[in-house]
């Protein structure tokens, strides 16, 4: 069984992740997931590829803590987070978040909270590669 929180270069399978999530409980009535993908266009420019840099050790420990925080805050039955660190093309998967709860509201709330928190507290940086050159992405405050 793969870890509940991972940084990896390879793509992930939603089917595998959801099966692993569901294995934790038969009381799970709702599963919300979020998948972030590479877009072919950003801030008015065509983007050919996106690459990432990460403070790997801290990124994994922050994601582990984030998962535990979400489970406690939303009373989840289980949650999983996978973030790819590699170079991806338009349409490729970047991040996967899943939250499973007894009822749908908690799962949906937790999924949104987790992706928002991940962006705010996990040390990963994205560089957009365009025909006019590369640039690190500065999130809007």
């Amino acid at each position: 069984m793969k870890d509940v929180v991972r940084i990896q270069s390879d793509d992930f399978s939603q089917d595998e992740e959801i099966a692993a999530l569901k294995a934790s409980s038969k009381r799970m009535g709702g599963i919300a997931t979020f998948i972030g993908c590479a877009r072919d266009f950003s801030e008015g420019r065509a983007v050919s590829e996106i690459s990432f840099d990460a403070y790997g050790r801290m990124a994994v420990s922050e994601m582990q803590q984030l998962r535990l925080d979400a489970i406690a805050r939303f009373n989840l039955l289980d949650a999983r987070i996978v973030h790819r660190i590699c170079t991806v093309s338009a349409g490729d998967n970047i991040v996967f978040i899943a939250a499973g709860a007894e009822h749908r509201a908690a799962a949906l709330d937790a999924c949104r909270w987790m992706i928002d928190e991940l962006k705010a507290r996990v040390p990963i940086w994205k560089k957009e590669i365009t025909s006019q050159g590369d640039s690190w992405v500065s999130p809007h405050p």
Binding site: Y55, W125, S138
Partner: protein
């Protein structure tokens, strides 16, 4: 020695992903930051998070232990 790590956009502005800095008794995170910011002003323009041994630290008056790993980071853009 203190190990200093930079990532992504900070490396691009500072030129180096890893530095060794001399440790001195009683030195704080703020002392280290000031010394590095003077050396890499362009990189430090975008630094907004600091971690010691992989943990977020907000209070820069924290004294550093020898052999600490300190990271000065730009705003995150993962996800």
């Amino acid at each position: 020695m203190i190990a200093v790590l930079f990532f992504g956009p900070v490396v691009e502005r500072g030129g180096s992903a890893e530095l060794k800095m001399a440790f001195s008794l009683g030195m704080t995170l703020q002392n280290l930051r000031d010394e590095l910011a003077a050396r890499y002003p362009y990189a430090f323009e975008i630094v907004c998070f600091t971690a010691v041994n992989g943990q977020h630290v907000r209070d820069l008056s924290m004294p550093l232990a020898d052999s600490s790993e300190v990271t000065f980071m730009a705003k995150f853009s993962g996800g």
